[in-house]
């Protein structure tokens, strides 16, 4: 289709030279480690690292029967769904609010994007302090409602803490995409719907939301990916997976079992499984997000 505009190069090796740096980085930092992980997930290493034995699918089989691992799976699902839903709903809410603004929309946009610039570990620490059971301001207010907040002892509290910290950081990202999506809905559609007797709220659900569905689907995938992979530092900075494994999500468990527990085989198997989940998500995204446009 773009044949007429395509420039063709006679040089055979130039394209490869231009691609080489990126390919090199991808190979060294992504493909090779991933390959190593896959390889070591089939092996067992002795405690001193002198010998490795091929054990086949043993690590995977054990994981499937390990209640700790299956628990972690469940916790990750709760965490991922909660973070995705909260951050997308709030992002959409803020986008709708800013979209309705005539003036100072830019100021709000700028302010709302700031949390995205905060490093995850800093976001984690911020919320850790806000929720600190002895000095934090939020437990102080919660105490008026009879809630004794302590995320060091209470697993539910700890989970809520990392959900809030992870969602807070992601709201900005969702907000930006939703705002762009809302602003690309033609204004006359809204006017036509207004004349058709549809109020502002009904217009949002009948017109804006369906037209946003490609954006929503894209963000859903991206957010689930984010919670599965990018939330390691939030957990590490706040709860360390505790108390009693209650916030030990898959990506943190890989680190804990492998790096702290030195169970490299099992850790590798876990990371391979995590990688498979993400590959499926990415596949779904590329397969459907491009095509499954609602209109």
């Amino acid at each position: 289709m773009m044949d007429t505009k395509r420039t063709t190069f006679q040089n055979k090796w130039l394209p490869y030279v231009l691609l080489a740096p990126q390919l090199f980085i991808t190979l060294i930092f992504f493909i090779w480690p991933a390959g190593q992980a896959v390889k070591s997930s089939f092996e067992r290493e002795d405690p001193f690292g002198f010998s490795t034995v091929f054990v086949g699918l043993q690590h995977y089989a054990r994981l499937m029967q390990d209640p700790n691992y299956l628990d972690s799976f469940l916790r990750t699902a709760v965490f991922a769904v909660a973070v995705t839903v909260i951050s997308m709903l709030l992002g959409l809410l803020f986008a709708v609010a800013v979209d309705r603004l005539m003036r100072s929309a830019r100021v709000y946009t700028t302010l709302l994007v700031w949390p995205y610039a905060v490093a995850p570990v800093v976001a984690g620490v911020l919320w850790f302090f806000l929720f600190n059971s002895s000095t934090g301001i939020l437990p102080y207010y919660l105490s008026f409602f009879g809630i004794k907040w302590d995320h060091n002892l209470n697993g539910t509290h700890a989970m809520i803490l990392i959900i809030i910290a992870a969602a807070w950081k992601q709201i900005s990202y969702n907000f930006l995409f939703f705002l762009a999506g809302l602003q690309s809905v033609p204004h006359t559609l809204m006017e036509a719907a207004a004349i058709d007797g549809s109020g502002p709220i009904k217009r949002f659900f009948d017109i804006s939301l369906p037209l946003l569905s490609p954006t929503t689907f894209f963000l859903f995938i991206v957010n689930v990916n984010y919670t599965m992979f990018d939330t390691f530092s939030i957990v590490d900075a706040t709860t360390n997976g505790g108390p009693a494994q209650s916030t030990n999500i898959l990506v943190y468990k890989v680190y804990q079992d492998g790096y702290l527990g030195l169970n490299l085989g099992s850790s590798s198997a876990q990371s391979v499984l995590l990688m498979l989940i993400v590959i499926v998500l990415i596949f779904v995204q590329f397969r459907f997000v491009e095509r499954r446009v609602q209109y």
Binding site: E191, A192, I195, D196, G199, D206, L211
Partner: protein, 367 residues
């Protein structure tokens, strides 16, 4: 069905930008009114104020007997056709047509009947289950009209609905809109910048310029007795020739040329004289004005001859076969001259008929 009264309506945007000034217009029930003018003349703003999409800064708009200034668009009993159609892209044609009726809690049987009727009228029945993106521009236009028709509103508002179509389709859709409006008898207000569209559709034309009404009248009134140089140059194609001239008694002096007025002189001194291209004719001998031909546009049925009298440009429309002589002289029946004041461009009429034109009855029977 409803009449519309527009009383001293004006629009001022924030920052004191004035878009529309003191519009007064009484629209009768069932009338087809066309608002015409160049870009930025306030015609769309006026239409959007009628629709309720813009607030009315000054004056009052009545639809039927009710002042609608504070009434929501949905409750004004109007339907609007937009320039870009504004079809809901995620809904099928049927859903697009049904949407307004469903919002008004119309019974299902009634909705089906109305959709079927509108679809039949517009010949879109076979497309009812398609999405708008699977339709051509003309088909989308029909769906947009269908969405307006099914509501059975008192007033149709059209905001340049044909300007996104190609020339041929525009002509056929133009006829269809006119036919439909005649059949339904719904009061309609139509905005366009295309003077041909305005002439062919309107019962009455409203020519706007700079946010003010220049002239209101039937197409032929506006064509034959334009109220100002602006209207004269805007309505009619090719545009009316406007030249600077001077009335000296019973003679009209245009640069080096002079023509006899035979008692038609309405004034004396400097004037702007308007001459329709088709009213000018070629004469032989030494009558009329010397005309230096610059170039000729061949339209098949007509040839448009462009040239100068003195240093002022003129265009003459001649029938296709007319010979163009080497030393051309042109003349005009003095009764067909239009005189305008040079200061404000307003029409000067000996019998002062310009006032009478504005409130003549319409639609005028075409002889």
């Amino acid at each position: 069905m409803a009449s519309i009264d527009i009383e001293s309506v004006g629009k001022v945007y924030t920052g004191n930008v004035r878009a529309v000034t003191d519009i007064n217009l009484a629209i009768k029930d069932g009338e087809f009114i066309v608002l015409v003018g160049p870009s930025g003349c306030g015609k769309s703003t006026l239409l959007r104020m009628l629709a309720g999409l813009e607030t009315i800064s000054e004056g009052a708009v009545k639809i039927g007997a009710r002042v609608v200034n504070q009434v929501e668009p949905a409750d004004r009993d109007i339907a609007m056709v937009f320039q870009n159609y504004a079809l809901y892209p995620h809904m099928t044609v049927r859903q697009n047509l049904e949407y307004g009726l469903k919002n008004r809690k119309t019974p299902k049987a009634e909705i089906d009947a109305r959709v079927a009727e509108a679809a039949r009228m517009l010949e879109i029945t076979q497309y009812l289950d398609r999405k708008p993106r699977a339709l051509s521009g003309g088909q989308r236009q029909r769906v947009a009209m269908g969405r307006a028709i099914v509501r059975k509103p008192s007033v149709f508002l059209f905001d340049e609905p044909l300007s996104n179509l190609d020339a041929k389709l525009r002509v056929s859709m133009r006829g269809e809109i006119k036919r439909l409006q005649r059949r339904l008898g719904t009061t309609s207000i139509y905005v366009t910048h295309d003077q041909l569209e305005a002439m062919t559709l309107a019962d009455r034309l409203v020519v706007l310029n700079g946010g003010k009404i220049e002239q209101v009248g039937s197409p032929l009134e506006v064509y034959h007795t334009p109220a100002s140089t602006f209207v004269a140059s805007f309505i009619g194609s090719p545009a009316m020739n406007l030249v600077k001239a001077e009335c000296q008694g019973d003679k009209l002096v245009i640069g080096p040329a002079m023509i006899s007025l035979n008692g038609y002189a309405p004034t004396s001194g400097a004037v702007t004289v308007g001459m329709r291209a088709e009213d000018l004719r070629v004469v032989t001998g030494d009558k009329g004005m010397p005309f230096a031909v610059e170039y000729v546009e061949e339209l098949g049925s007509q040839r448009l001859v462009h040239g100068v009298v003195g240093d002022q440009s003129l265009t003459i429309a001649l029938s296709g076969e007319t010979e163009i002589p080497a030393n051309m002289r042109i003349d005009i029946d003095p009764a067909k001259l239009h005189f305008f004041a040079q200061a404000d461009g307003k029409r000067i009429s000996a019998a002062d008929r310009s006032g009478a034109a504005a409130d003549a009855p319409s639609p005028a029977p075409v002889a």
